[in-house]
Symmetry: C2
Subunit: 191 residues, 2 copies
């Protein structure tokens, strides 16, 4: 998606060979106009799928998931990372290892909000090692629902996320920008 | 806002005299269509204000803020509760006491995303004791920006949030539903 790639080149800050910071429009300040263009693009790429629900994970996925949901006319459910005092005990639970934070954390979805009839589009901001998406897929499977697709804003093509996910299941993964490498402070996109 | 009040009556679960759970449409599963109606209503109520930015706090405020931002054509910034490994040290910082969690936590906004020219609409899901909003106001003040209004989805009118905020500054506070009490498992709205 050219608009997104141009924005990454303009505002992304390459921290090192593995990390690019896009706080300016994606993770801290949110460019909702750009998100709408991304939402339309996700709708185009999954036009052949009958989606009933969008699933994401707090925090950074929520905004993108909600704007995207407008083009699918479906509700969003987000997996919670923290135990809320008023979250029921009837939850689907999975574990996600975060390389950024260097720790394993539990993610949970209330059983009321996913059911066997659901056709789920998983949306997230980044795909790197694939752990967050695998945790979300695990939760969809526990609910007996179908994973209809995975929509990612920025994929780090030099990490193994896509490969790991596809080794577990056959699913359509669509990334709006795939970064091939970040060496020497330069962003190189995959063709 | 009648649509929201009806939904609270239909799907809200009164936990005790102080707590109502609206996970079904506001805090865990997100009814994006309803959020759009709320966004339009916020735009109506703050129609006289020239807003340049919407500020909220993770997690629950983000979705509402983003959908609302579409009606104001402005970006969203959300205050972060957790220290991200790649958040710069140049941040505005405040402290928020959460009664739900029983602890004090820091919230932070990167200095790049609020500036003295900004006219800020603060958006949050709940107004109870007012601590989250006070923390956000503190951050806007640190940036030398203007707090143009506070938009809340559900206000607990039986707690002191509104009073506390108005004792500190004169600001337009708009709540889409004000709950007067939750006694005996019943939701009673303020007139």
């Amino acid at each position: 998606m050219k608009l997104l790639k141009d924005r990454i080149l303009k505002d992304g800050k390459v921290i090192d060979n593995r990390i690019i910071k896009v706080d300016n429009f994606l993770n801290h300040q949110l460019d909702v106009e750009l998100f709408n263009e991304m939402g339309k693009e996700f709708k185009n790429r999954f036009a052949n799928k009958k989606i009933t629900k969008i699933l994401t994970i707090e925090t950074s996925g929520i905004a993108i998931a909600c704007i995207t949901a407008q083009y699918f006319n479906v509700p969003v459910v987000f997996a919670k990372k923290q135990v809320a005092s008023n979250l029921t005990t009837d939850v689907y639970e999975s574990e996600v290892y975060s390389f950024t934070k260097g720790k394993l954390s539990k993610i949970r979805v209330d059983m009321n909000y996913l059911n066997p009839q659901d056709k789920v589009l998983i949306i997230d901001d980044f795909l790197a090692h694939g752990n967050a998406v695998l945790g979300l897929i695990d939760i969809v499977n526990q609910a007996g629902a179908e994973v209809s697709g995975v929509g990612i804003v920025i994929e780090k093509g030099f990490q193994k996320g896509r490969e790991v996910i596809l080794s577990r299941m056959s699913v359509q993964i669509e990334s709006l920008a795939i970064i091939e490498n970040l060496e020497n402070g330069q962003v190189v996109f995959a063709q």
